[in-house]
């Protein structure tokens, strides 16, 4: 059962990283135009990042 002391913190940390990453995507306006972003990938034009 000692393995739990390692596994539980690891699962929490991994989940936490995912959460932080999500917070980052929300903060950087990545959900403002989901449909447009889905289409832009098909365009030949280079499009560096979502508009701030």
């Amino acid at each position: 059962m000692n393995v739990l002391t390692v596994l539980i913190p690891i699962s929490l940390i991994l989940g936490g990283i995912g959460l932080l990453f999500f917070v980052f995507t929300v903060r950087s306006n990545q959900y403002d135009d989901p449909e447009g972003d889905a289409r832009r990938i098909l365009s030949d034009q280079y499009d560096d990042k979502p508009k701030q």
């Binding site: 989940g15 447009g36 365009s43």
Partner: protein
């Protein structure tokens, strides 16, 4: 607004070592203006590229970005770039575009409330996944010290998460309780808090069952419903804002006898402003020229329009109904009642609140029922066992099991799917219950001019009319917003005619415009009003004094999709009516062309409203489709109303749904989608009820375990969401 919205120009806030440079950079930034355009036709990757390239190629444009989700283009440009030029650029490459007021829109772009909800949703999702992991271990057999440890870890995750993510529910519940009312959030809050309290208690006593996972899953699912609901509302609100942005971005300033379009923000105290019929006063001021009726109902609730003449004070937001008015501004910008204009749409919409939405009627049944059930379970078990712990555990289980997860998701999931689908077809749902009301529609009433027709009639016989008559007609027509007048004005101006000197111009709604020219009365309007013979074709008649009337003949182009929409509506078993203020032959001709069985010609605004009201009294649910000043009353009287984006602002405010494109065929589609959306909502309620019927007896009997609660809750929420997705 600008001060808070603008990002810090220095890379970090701490290193503002060069404030002068920053101020300079800021000045440069201020020079560029942001122009927002609504582009309802954009739908593909190629459109994005085409539009962005075309806009960027326009001189003075810094950058252009298309938002496909909002069907909007945002342009950063030098101040000399006029929005009209950009609209023309887009029209040239084949996209319809309207200018939007960037100032009004900026509030929506950083949708703070939506982001906050999304963040709470994410935290709740993260926490519930982790706690579920621990709970699954407990359910699959972890015992004794291990189980207690898992429970304590779950508590450590759940408590802060609920404190953060549950705030919207707690706030709403508290607000309701403070006013002595019950709403959906009261049982939710009670369920979450009770689940946490009993679980903590159980954990501290090394008990077997803890509901931390249920409390978190409940928060997560409900937040998901809330977020979807917020998205639909935000789109509706931004639609309302978009319409507000369409409404008064510009005013007509009279400078040394010339009319010039300027932004409302550029108006100063003392400016002369021309307000056309159907338009709103952009400023507070005093009438210096013109006579008219003024509709104050949106501001003061007075239903009868008041007379307006020289010397009378008007305030921003009032609607000028009949004659063109020149107003000297006494207060502009922030000093006017302009701030009230932001609420105008909301006020207009509050008139529709007599309709109770399906969600509200469900909540009205649900909220008291749950409390009574859970209180009964508590009292019953306490009297049976005299054990507080058992009784509280069962009461909590009942509350959790009856959780309105499915109920909370039932409506938003469907409306999100439906309004998203309609938005892609070019319809903006302005009102949250519009879909439900649209589903009940059995009678559809169309206006003719501007609605079934493209609203841009063309003058046919300008070359057969003397230039004197054209001059007089131009003077009479140029102050009017009626489609025929607008077209006549444009055609006469394009042909190089000047307006004659006509005084005392008044528009008589539903009849025409009259004035005084060289001491003689001149009238421009419908045949009956100027005592002229009727023509089969749409015509406006000019009568100078006692001379025989002169006709201006127009042709109407049918709007795209008009025929398809009417055929589809008739196939769906709806009664279709045509009501127009136009002459009988013209209306009859149109009705025959489109195969509309019932029609009403030469209808005055009051007639239209009365007919719609009469149909409503017969028990019909009327969908009114109209665009003009004369339709506004009928639009407000109808059960649900649609107006095209080209409609007069008064009509757009009064309607529930706005057609963004010029095509009418989405109307039939909307009625069908609304019907199936309401069917899905009802099915969802049935699913939620069925699940409660099965699970509640288990909970009351004390057989519910956290595992059963988790299974039932997730299963019902997922079924409801999947059912909503079937709408596509």
């Amino acid at each position: 607004m600008t001060a808070t919205m603008r990002p810090n120009i220095s890379a970090c806030p701490a290193c503002s070592a060069a404030p002068a440079a920053e101020a300079l950079a800021e000045q440069a930034a201020q020079k560029d203006v942001r122009i927002a355009l609504s582009v309802p036709g954009v739908h593909c990757a190629a459109c994005i590229t085409t539009i962005e390239k075309a806009l960027a190629a326009h001189p003075g444009v810094e950058s252009a970005r298309v938002n496909l989700t909002l069907k909007r283009a945002t342009v950063e440009a030098a101040p000399e770039v006029m929005p009209e030029d950009l609209v023309r650029v887009l029209e040239h490459i084949g996209y319809e575009a309207h200018e939007l007021d960037a100032g009004t829109l900026s509030a929506t772009e950083t949708d703070r409330a939506g982001r906050e909800l999304l963040m709470r949703l994410a935290v709740a999702g993260f926490a519930s996944m982790n706690v579920m992991l621990l709970s699954v271990s407990v359910w699959s057999g972890a015992a004794d010290a291990t189980r207690d440890m898992f429970h304590w870890i779950s508590a450590a995750i759940a408590l802060p998460t609920i404190a953060f993510s549950g705030q919207p529910f707690f706030r709403n519940a508290w607000a309701a309780l403070k006013h002595g009312r019950l709403n959906m959030d009261v049982p939710i809050t009670l369920a979450i808090v009770l689940a946490l309290v009993t679980s903590l208690w159980e954990t501290s006593l090394s008990g077997k069952h803890a509901y931390f996972d249920a409390a978190l899953a409940l928060t997560f699912f409900l937040l998901a419903g809330r977020y979807l609901d917020h998205r639909t509302r935000a789109i509706a609100r931004s639609a309302a804002e978009e319409l507000a942005a369409l409404e008064v971005p510009r005013a007509i300033r009279v400078e040394a006898g010339e009319e010039r379009q300027v932004a409302v923000s550029e108006l100063a105290v003392g400016d002369l402003v021309l307000v056309r019929p159907g338009g709103r006063m952009p400023v507070d001021g005093e009438i210096v020229e013109g006579r008219s009726e003024i509709d104050r109902s949106l501001l003061t609730g007075e239903t009868i329009p008041v007379y307006g003449g020289p010397g009378q004070a008007v305030s921003a937001g009032e609607v000028n109904l009949t004659g063109p008015l020149t107003v000297r501004a006494t207060a502009v910008g922030e000093d006017t009642s302009l701030h009230r204009m932001a609420d105008l749409v909301a006020i207009a919409e509050s008139g529709r609140s007599r309709y109770t939405s399906l969600a509200d009627s469900a909540a009205k049944l649900y909220a008291p029922g749950v409390h009574i059930l859970s209180a009964l379970a508590f009292v019953g078990w306490y009297l049976y066992t005299f054990d507080m712990r058992t009784a509280l555990n069962i009461a909590a289980a009942v509350l959790i099991i009856t959780c309105p997860c499915a109920l909370g998701l039932a409506v938003p999931a469907v409306t999100t799917a439906a309004s998203g689908r309609l938005f892609r077809r070019g319809m903006l749902i302005k009102h949250s219950t519009a879909l439900e009301r649209l589903a009940q529609v059995d009678t559809v009433v169309f206006d003719k001019t501007g609605t079934l027709t493209a609203g841009t009639p063309e003058v046919m016989n300008l070359d057969q009319v003397t230039s004197r008559d054209i001059g007089i007609a131009l003077a009479l027509a140029q102050g009017s917003s009626h489609p025929l007048s607008v077209s006549l004005t444009a055609a006469a101006r394009a042909a190089g005619f000047d307006a004659a000197e006509v005084e005392d111009i008044t528009e008589v709604p539903g009849y025409g415009t009259r004035g005084r020219w060289q001491g003689r009365e001149v009238r421009l309007g419908r045949a009956a009003w100027v005592e002229a013979p009727r023509l089969a074709r749409t015509a406006a008649w000019l009568r100078v004094g006692d001379e025989s009337p002169q006709a201006f003949e127009f042709t109407d182009r049918l709007r795209d999709g008009a025929e398809a929409a009417i055929v589809a509506l008739k196939d769906a078993g709806k009664d279709v009516y045509l009501m127009s203020g136009d002459s009988t032959p013209a209306v009859e001709d149109m009705a025959n062309r489109l195969g509309i069985p019932h029609w009403l010609a030469e209808a005055l605004p009051a007639d239209k409203a009365a007919r719609v009201q009469a149909m409503a009294d017969e028990g019909r649910h009327v969908l009114m489709v109209g665009d003009g000043l004369n339709d506004t009353a009928a639009l407000a009287a109808a059960h649900v109303s649609i107006s095209p984006a080209s409609a007069l602002d008064a009509a757009r405010v009064a309607s529930d749904i706005v057609l963004l494109g010029g095509d009418l065929s989405p109307i039939a589609d909307a009625v069908r989608t609304a019907g199936s959306a309401v069917r899905r909502i009802r099915e969802n309620f049935q699913i939620a009820t069925l699940y409660n019927v099965i699970a509640v007896p288990l909970a009351v009997a004390g057989f519910a375990t956290p595992l059963i609660a988790a299974l039932a809750m997730s299963a019902s929420s997922i079924t409801v969401s999947l059912n909503a997705l079937r709408l596509r």
